[in-house]
């Protein structure tokens, strides 16, 4: 009955909701794969996931154990990226650091996107003073300098990954609230919303089941585009000693520890930076491609 074929997927008259959904996903993926830069981004992100998942297998040395006999060795066949001031293999630390970076971006996204979605949809759906209060709050947060605010929050909460995640999440949600509100306003007065309301659906149900799903795609695009910024902020906090604490192999903290040797042993501080640049670039490229597919109104030229 159900065959996964090209014809079935692109059928103009889908018979089931599942077929329609699958067809839409199929078309989206095809459009995405036609964009070479987006594919590069996707490859980088998949690479990050693989490296993070198989870090203990891939890393040739321990990321934590020091080996003082092998301090500050230049890149060689044994240590592809050299060793740091405690004789730890930098490549192994970068591989393990992928887990920390991935965890930070995922946690920030999981915390801030739902908060932003909720605030934005509620403000857009109810309008009036609810809208004014919530959006006033959003605008205040939106007009603050993000990095400085995150710094101050971590300073108050104390250094550490969890607090860094909270601080970054506090500064990222307002953008999603704005986007979700704008989306909500476009179909707030649509007939399908009135139809559900007249069937007796509660406000909670309308927002959660009918409005939020429609705001999802533009929020996902924005979250993907923001990932690079989140990675940079997290690395910046790590660099200042406010994020992940030693001996954790967080990339920003690794750059910070290499700072003392930058003039003679350049590789200690430089190598983790390349990892940050590549991963951020991956999210930027993939996010751009995703926007072109999911959100054609804001297509870049």
């Amino acid at each position: 009955m159900m065959q996964l074929s090209h014809a079935w997927l692109v059928d103009e008259n889908p018979e089931t909701r599942f077929q329609a959904g699958a067809g839409q996903t199929y078309r989206m993926v095809r459009a995405l794969l036609r964009n070479p830069l987006a594919v590069v981004g996707l490859v980088i992100i998949i690479g990050l996931l693989i490296v993070a998942a198989f870090a203990p297998v891939l890393a040739p040395y321990s990321p934590i154990e020091s080996n003082l006999g092998a301090r500050l060795l230049a890149p060689s066949a044994d240590h592809w990226m050299g060793t740091d001031e405690l004789g730890r293999d930098i490549l192994s630390r970068i591989i393990h650091g992928a887990r920390i970076t991935l965890m930070i971006v995922l946690l920030v996204a999981v915390i801030s996107a739902p908060v932003g979605l909720l605030v934005g949809t509620v403000a857009g759906y109810f309008g009036g003073w609810v809208d004014r209060v919530l959006m006033g709050l959003t605008d205040v947060f939106l007009s603050m300098p993000k990095l400085i605010l995150a710094l101050a929050f971590v300073a108050a909460l104390g250094p550490g990954i969890e607090n860094a995640v909270i601080a970054i999440a506090i500064t990222t949600w307002p953008v999603y609230a704005r986007i979700a509100r704008a989306e909500t306003l476009t179909f707030r007065n649509a007939e399908f919303i009135s139809a559900i309301q007249m069937q007796g659906a509660s406000h909670t149900r309308v927002i959660l089941r009918h409005i939020m799903p429609l705001c999802l795609s533009s929020t996902i695009v924005r979250v993907t585009l923001d990932m690079a910024g989140i990675i940079l902020t997290a690395a910046g906090l790590g660099f200042l000693g406010l994020g992940a604490q030693p001996p954790l192999p967080e990339w920003g903290a690794m750059i910070s520890s290499g700072r003392a040797f930058i003039l003679d042993q350049w590789w200690v501080a430089t190598m983790p930076g390349f990892a940050i640049v590549i991963v951020s670039l991956g999210f930027c490229l993939f996010g751009d491609g995703l926007r072109d597919v999911l959100d054609p109104r804001n297509r870049t030229r």
Binding site: M144, P145, A152, A155, L232, G236, L240, T270, S280
Partner: protein, 358 residues
């Protein structure tokens, strides 16, 4: 025209119409001022809340943990910590408005005084940075749009991506390793060579201008060699953004019919691009430049830390390491206020300059 007169009874009286217009303008300005006030109040609320969540008990810090309960309570009352939070907040706002940001724990001097001392260094670097960003970014963006798909267009695209993906502090370190340690093209960390410190009298606090005013060119050269690398790196990030925005504004204009008309008329390409297409986007660029200047102030925190630049960002990170909360919040407040101020001023400029936004 008749219907216009019917819908607007003031139209037959030009004076009345003008009064109405300026009234509307005033109301919108008033609303704008209210937004700014709310934003600043929000900033104060945030720093106030941050000051409250600090796990350090400020009373314990004064009396020590062996003080009897009555001494503790007396000091707590003296510090105003027993009054309701809203009263404390109002007191806090009042203190900040009167310029009192508390005492710096490490130096035992008023935070406001210390911030005033370090601010010119940040201003100098950020201004040079935005100059680089605008002077290179705007022409580059215009060229990229005029020759879409050419090498300069590709360079702008790559720069734009790099601006998003490269951590500023890392680029600073790489720049130091390359241009200072290896090539010896620029001076190292700090604002000036140590043996030249304090030679020229401080008038503006901006070393480049002070040394020029005194005519001391050796000091000027030293200051220049120290500022150029961090300012260029800061400028790079605003350049990437400004060029990308300029490019997309220009592309929008170049597809307009009046540009085609100008071309058909036989106007030279240079005139079409700079006189016809570039002029209308200048107003949009004001906003973009304001925005990137504000972001640049924020980015200077990282760059200053890397370059040991004695500005407000370096002050902030040092205070963070010393857990000196008064200084952290003071610096946050000042950077935040300047950030908001620059954004709002560019917003206001846009409203004043653009006839459509009036």
């Amino acid at each position: 025209m008749k219907s216009l007169v019917l819908t607007n009874p003031a139209a037959d009286d030009p004076w009345k119409r003008r009064r109405q217009q300026s009234l509307r303008w005033l109301v919108s300005l008033g609303g704008f001022a209210a937004t700014i006030a709310m934003t600043f109040l929000g900033l104060l609320a945030i720093t106030f809340v941050i000051g409250r969540v600090v796990p350090i008990d400020p009373v314990l810090a004064v009396v020590g943990d062996r003080a009897p309960q009555d001494v503790y309570d007396a000091v707590r009352a003296e510090m105003g910590l027993d009054s309701p939070l809203i009263v404390q907040f109002v007191q806090y706002v009042g203190a900040v408005i009167s310029g009192d940001l508390g005492m710096a724990v490490t130096s035992q001097r008023p935070v406001a005084e210390e911030l005033a001392r370090v601010f010119p260094a940040t201003l100098e670097m950020a201004t040079l940075g935005i100059l680089i960003g605008v002077l290179v970014g705007v022409p580059a963006g215009v060229l990229a749009a005029a020759r879409q798909g050419s090498w300069i267009d590709q360079v702008i695209r790559v720069l734009g991506l790099a601006g998003y993906a490269i951590p500023a502090f890392w680029l600073g370190l790489v720049g130091l390793a390359l241009f200072y340690a290896n090539l010896r093209w620029v001076g190292g960390p700090g604002r000036i060579d140590i043996f030249m410190e304090g030679i020229v009298p401080s008038r503006t606090g901006l070393l480049l201008i002070d040394s020029m005013l005194s005519g001391d060119w050796a000091v000027f050269r030293s200051a220049w060699s120290h500022i150029i690398l961090p300012a260029t790196i800061l400028g790079f990030f605003s350049l990437a953004y400004i060029a990308r925005m300029t490019r997309s504004f220009m592309l929008e204009q170049l597809s307009q019919e009046y540009v085609i008309t100008a071309r058909v008329k036989g106007a030279p390409e240079r005139v079409v691009i700079w006189r016809h297409a570039f002029r209308p986007i200048r107003i949009q660029l004001v906003t973009v430049i304001g925005l990137s200047f504000a972001q640049l102030l924020e980015g200077s925190v990282m760059i200053e830390t890397v370059f040991s630049w004695p500005g407000i960002g370096n002050y902030l990170t040092n205070a963070l390491l010393n857990a000196d909360m008064n200084s952290v919040l003071g610096a946050t407040l000042v950077i935040g206020a300047v950030f908001i101020g620059v954004n709002k001023v560019s917003d206001l400029l846009y409203r004043i300059l653009d006839p459509r936004a009036r």
